[in-house]
Symmetry: C2
Subunit: 607 residues, 2 copies
Amino acid sequence: MPTYKAPLRDIRFLMNEMFDFPAHYQTLQNGENADPDTVEMILEGAADFCENVLSPIYHSGDEEGCHFKDGEVTTPKGYKEAYDQFVQSGWQGLSYPEEFGGQNLPMSLNLIKSEMMGTANWSFTMYPGLSMGCMNTIMQFGTEEQKNTYMPHLVEGTWSGTMCLTEPQCGTDLGQVKAKATANDDGSYLISGTKIFISAGEHDLTENIIHIVLARLPDAPQGTRGISLFIVPKFLINEDGSIGERNGVSCGSIEHKMGICASATAVLNFDQAKGYLIGEPNKGLHAMFTFMNTARIGTAVQGLAHAELSFQGSLPYAKERLSMRALSGKKEPEKVADPIIYHADVRRMLLTQKAIAEGGRAMIYYAAQIADKMTDALAQGDQAKFDEYDDKLGFYTPILKGFLTELGLEAANLGMQVYGGHGYIKEQGMEQIARDARIATLYEGTTGVQALDLIGRKVLLSSKGKVVREYTGEILKFCGRHARNKYMRRFAWDLTKICAQWNALTVRILLAARKDRDIVSSASVDYLMFSGYAMMAYFWAQQAATASEMLETGKGKETTEFYKAKIKVADFYFERLLPRAQGHAESMVNPSSTLTSLPADHFSFDY
Amino acid sequence: MPTYKAPLRDIRFLMNEMFDFPAHYQTLQNGENADPDTVEMILEGAADFCENVLSPIYHSGDEEGCHFKDGEVTTPKGYKEAYDQFVQSGWQGLSYPEEFGGQNLPMSLNLIKSEMMGTANWSFTMYPGLSMGCMNTIMQFGTEEQKNTYMPHLVEGTWSGTMCLTEPQCGTDLGQVKAKATANDDGSYLISGTKIFISAGEHDLTENIIHIVLARLPDAPQGTRGISLFIVPKFLINEDGSIGERNGVSCGSIEHKMGICASATAVLNFDQAKGYLIGEPNKGLHAMFTFMNTARIGTAVQGLAHAELSFQGSLPYAKERLSMRALSGKKEPEKVADPIIYHADVRRMLLTQKAIAEGGRAMIYYAAQIADKMTDALAQGDQAKFDEYDDKLGFYTPILKGFLTELGLEAANLGMQVYGGHGYIKEQGMEQIARDARIATLYEGTTGVQALDLIGRKVLLSSKGKVVREYTGEILKFCGRHARNKYMRRFAWDLTKICAQWNALTVRILLAARKDRDIVSSASVDYLMFSGYAMMAYFWAQQAATASEMLETGKGKETTEFYKAKIKVADFYFERLLPRAQGHAESMVNPSSTLTSLPADHFSFDY
């Protein structure tokens, strides 16, 4: 049974040695709050909470699941107590403004806290996680009155929030949303419709739940240009700010899911529920997209979280389980057999998990710095700068979300595989991680949706490949700086090749798409995965560069082995995982006709 | 919710048009029983049973699971009735000798029946499936008395059987088996020990359960050379053949598993249980290996089964679900959006599932013909011929088991992916397939074990690569025959290249292994997957060849579209799945040191 231990050594490596978060924080308006001592206190406090409060209820929460009765949802044993402790420690307000009771720390610290919490217990973390979408929306688009009404409670965590987008007939294609809003005389609205898949849509953790709901005004244009956003609280708020009567929104049921069973996924019925318009009429989807990147990066974290947790479960098992002898001879001759960690193939699995977890973490932490800069620009009211960083993050987002969640699922499955048959048994705890990881490629836009966003919107339409040229240009500069370092030579060379290939593939598809528009879809997932492997290679090379610098300058003398291990895992990544990019490269350039020319009725002649 | 429909058109294509089973059956001793009318009757009877009896209790059996109370196991609602019907229809005895009440039909028909049953309901199929291992062991190694005591009931299906190998401390490494057998005065033995993961180890479907148990005699040598086989019935048999008193074997619990929840996986405690030696003392493991290939091919079927069922679930959904518009323009403009089957990326997923299911089926049916020839040689007492076919099957087995179960899991996950978020919801039925498919890469030897068997035993040790040279030689002859056919040219060319590469990689690893013994393990899974992609390419090319012949000769005029679709899917396979082999090729040739040189204690510095 994996029990979470926060990987603080690796986190500190990224924050202090590789990305220089202390210097980064000094560039931010709210950076002075994030002095090294405070950051250290937050890391250790989060680790303590995750290891001792969230981790112990991870498996039991899955076994018990959420309970639904008469419209009420009860979370599993221990979740309410853990949530209360979360609120009391002020974790929810970490990166929210002081005027609403928050601690106004950079957004990246919030993300790193969420990574730890999500790794310890993803289901739990979804409850406060969904509130963030709600808070961000209200902060950005709400009136002063709306902010003052809702934010203090949301920031405190005594209220929580949701995002109500999906309906039975549509998820990705939000233009099909049917929920309706009609105006009352007092400026409020009545909302009616059914929303499904609402994470944290109903539960017993907070006094109130604030739903952000997509719905149509009576005169709204069809499609995506006719969707507005509404605040619909579960309990109406009295004029004095106290909680009033129950609103017309009820939970019809909760879903029975493959995993994340301790997270309540609600069907919400809005029946003339009182709501308040937020932002401009018919501009709801646009508002929604403002925080799309940060929300999706929050989900991308799940990839590394489940890779990490699964690795934490399989590593000790591989050291303990005795089976057969290593091919190169007995390693522990006094035992009846060698621990399976001495089998090269078992190491291949462990190192794959480790490379995904640590490579993913590096990618996320870098994105977190961009998110900090975005938030900073927003706070300074600098829209141009905000847009610049948002564009930059927009290129990373689909790669991080699509690629990391696919690899996280692979890593979670490898964790089971290390256990052999025992991995399939619930009490070992490994299969839960694989079930929990499975949702990550589906929600917040499937891998296919991320892939189309990347190649269609970010690479081809909006930049004609420029974004890839610029990004690979940055990588090539890095290669130039490190080409002569003995540890770095091979990484620089492989990176140079993959950058050239990335640009060539982009141009090839750009040209092909002029005649073959479906190729943008047929190539999309291969393009996403290729991009992911290339990008992760860059982040592994950066980790190796930092490690080799620490070794060469003797700065990290006391933990030499840590840096040597980093370089070895980078080696592993380049030799064993990066080659997969070639299969994707070869596959994506084929014309779409192989996929599109088979008539729909000829997919089967039997059923 | 997928409901199973037997893919009879595809099955008939393989049996009648591609592999010419009618001619094949004429070469077998028992082939005259398998005349075309009988075969047809069996296919339709099996389809009817699977579609109308087994499929309807697939999902409900998962929801309910097996019940354990006071050592007794109750199977889910409807399983006992379905099993009784299975017995009454004589399905268990299909390929077993007439002297024991069977129908003496070729083994391949049994496998095809099992494929249909397993696709409709894998959990159910495990109960009669485990009996086969038991029956094969008794038939081959039992005394006349043992055969007469057990076989008629097992063939009838009123008794079932198990294979009791695994113990808590060992699964793969059976040399560690601790169960003990001591001799009684009457020639029987007393067996004591704990066996785990015993599929069908306890249940309410049959009157008796006959366990085949691995245990050690008191004077047995250590390790694998000291293991004997015993027959241990749940209920002892009276002299008149009737069922007597309860034996000293009891079910301590059943496992809570990720999937195949309707299949009872028992912990069995043997406490001075009466047993009977079968075969020679200390030669138990050797006997066990006699049927290893056929048992593992039985498990390989799971790969294609879950690919097929998942495809059957996702295809209608993709035709119905409306979301967005195809990139090349509206396909069904009268609807609010296009069915998702018009998105090229959705087709990529569907075609991957289809290519795996149909490619896997072709591979299995070919192996089934070899199994027929083996059984035929055995019946004729021709050991040399048996060994020859066993060797041939020995090359296919790890590829089929390892590769097809990995791809089956991928296909099952793609089935969920086609559904988007709905795929994660239990009532849709798609996530069950992914959970059920997950066991296939773990039991009957993990993928890693298959890979080591392939590259270590089958390719390097016993043949120094000859087996690959011979197999690719066969493929190259095929290429020669088809090089000028307009449909076949590109397949012949790609196959020629991959054959050359397969041989080159084999030689390269053979040479490297002289100095770097761990490379056999470090390269193993990549080698297995490369071999699988190459082999499946050959079987897709063969399907295309048959289809193009049917088109050219006008033989299949009435189903022209079926053959055209076959060729298109072969195209898809070569363009979109075969390229993955390149990543494996590039990865496997790297030295093992990247994997082995990291000290076990340096895999983590945090835990």
